[in-house]
Symmetry: C2
Subunit: 241 residues, 2 copies
């Protein structure tokens, strides 16, 4: 394979899709769960051998959302229930050829990831060249993918409310301590439990249930996320067509 | 000109940019100011004669942001200080040929619009086929542009805080009554002045100045927007490079 990068015709612009999939995972047996994302090792130029976001080319007969789901599934075997468009990256110099990448993102519960990985391992079609990386300790990625992950992290840390974190990363019912621990993994720092409880309760985005988790500690109330808030956040583009 | 639409090669996907520019304008001498946007009448197929969002094709040597500014300027002679990416629209059936449109949006003060329009009129290079329309009374637009405007309106009404409305649509200093009237034009309904004041004051996104506007009414304090909030909202993609 030649190492020279072919120069594209000046009028050629291609459209790709990529996905940033966040989950909170224990990446080794000893370590605490951290915010993590799956990357795919490139097997061809450009950037052969480097890690990159899962993705691929948009087909002419395929909607953007469908392309994002298809390429994510083909490269990682992951199938989130919902991918949201994050941003279109189109700097002229982001790739040796001219590529506009429409990037999607999703939050995925760790048990969903485990179940999907286990199903593919059992079927003998586990994807190759895929690994989960801690979001805070990424290597130098292909293209502008470090910049894309930085932007996704910024959106997650600044613009995603507790309701969506609860919906995306926690089971159907959860305690405020569960939510705080996941939020701490996202922010990469400890939060004061009393302040956190007050903020969540003031946000009106979670609904207390009548159930409690019991165990070694004193009983902790279980909450669920407020589906009305989440649907409103998604906006009119998500309406069924 | 033939009425048949040529079928593109199946692998051809083209990238366009469009812009939704919101301002609050009096569209006739008698009427109250309303939320409005400029549209361009199409002079060729497809959708010849219909109104469409300003925009055009992305050039291979041009970044997305630059293309959005250039095509907006070419079609409407408007030059907002800041265009923000809104969403990439890429449904297969949104155009007779396959086009992915990266849509930008901006808020523009009415006096800025007037000054830019007047400058071009004086220079004799005023754009043709451009008109401002009330956002609530749009005709059937070309392509999926009604859907795009609906999405932009949803974002404006649901996700844009008082700070950005103040920065985008009002002069440097303004009263809470000014801000309420612009917000009422955006929402298309009246707001309770006392509730509105309380919400704005609780949001901490505006800074009271020591100055007051005097006149027929009792003196009204002037506010300015909090630039720190606004820069934080824009996120890491806006960092100087």
């Amino acid at each position: 394979m030649t190492q020279t990068t072919p120069t594209p015709p000046t009028d050629e612009i291609r459209v790709a899709v990529s996905a940033v999939i966040f989950s909170v995972r224990g990446l080794s047996e000893s370590a605490c769960p951290v915010l993590a994302l799956p990357l795919v090792r490139r097997t061809r130029d450009p950037f052969e051998g480097r890690w990159a976001l899962p993705g691929g080319w948009l087909n002419a007969a395929e909607n953007l959302d469908a392309a994002a789901s298809r390429t994510l599934e083909e490269t990682t075997a992951l199938a989130p229930t919902y991918l949201e468009q994050l941003y279109a990256f189109g700097a002229v110099d982001r790739s040796p050829t001219r590529v506009v990448s429409v990037v999607y993102w999703a939050l995925l519960r760790s048990d969903e990831v485990d179940a999907q990985v286990a199903a593919h391992a059992a079927a003998g079609d586990a994807p190759e060249n895929v690994e989960w990386f801690a979001a805070s300790e990424l290597p130098a990625l292909a293209f502008d993918h470090n910049e894309i992950v930085d932007y996704a992290l910024w959106r997650l840390r600044n613009k995603v409310g507790y309701s969506r974190i609860a919906n995306g990363l926690l089971p159907e019912q959860f305690t405020l301590a569960d939510l705080r621990e996941v939020t701490e993994a996202i922010l990469g720092r400890r939060l004061d439990p009393a302040n956190f409880r007050r903020q969540v309760e003031n946000s009106n985005t979670l609904i207390p249930t009548d159930r409690f988790r019991t165990g070694n500690h004193r009983p902790a109330r279980l909450y669920r996320y407020n589906r009305d808030v989440e649907l409103a956040e998604r906006g009119p583009l998500i309406a069924p067509r």
